[in-house]
Symmetry: C2
């Protein structure tokens, strides 16, 4: 999987899980303590998210970080 | 898990898996296409690794990214 695809797949997975919990980007940004624009960029696959924010995002989605990547790997 | 702990736990997990495969830092750096110093910093928990490098590191350890985090979560 090339770099662009990694970011895209991660973003799509975050979006899918967020929507499955009926949380808006604004609400989710508040939950994880990150800016809404940042969340939007992550979901659009334009951000190379750092480890600390990956863990924050997983926590905000109420899944383990491993589960977040399991979900992402299903799509590949 | 606070930010410092996330980096420390990730580094310890990478080191454990690398050593379980009997690969030196030099060899591992070569495999994943990253600098040896960077690998050393990751393992010492001083790097907030990006998503793309997390995936590269997992691939280099011949585990899925989800499995790498499963391993990390065992220690928490």
């Amino acid at each position: 999987m090339d770099d662009k695809n990694v970011k895209t797949q991660f973003g799509l997975t975050v979006r899918k899980l967020r929507l499955s919990k009926n949380i808006s980007q604004e609400k989710f940004a508040e939950i994880v303590g990150l800016h809404r624009t940042y969340i939007s960029e992550v979901e659009r696959g334009t951000r190379n998210v750092t480890l600390i924010n990956v863990v924050k995002i997983a926590k905000g989605l109420e899944v383990k970080t491993s589960e977040l990547f399991c979900e992402m790997e299903k799509e590949i």
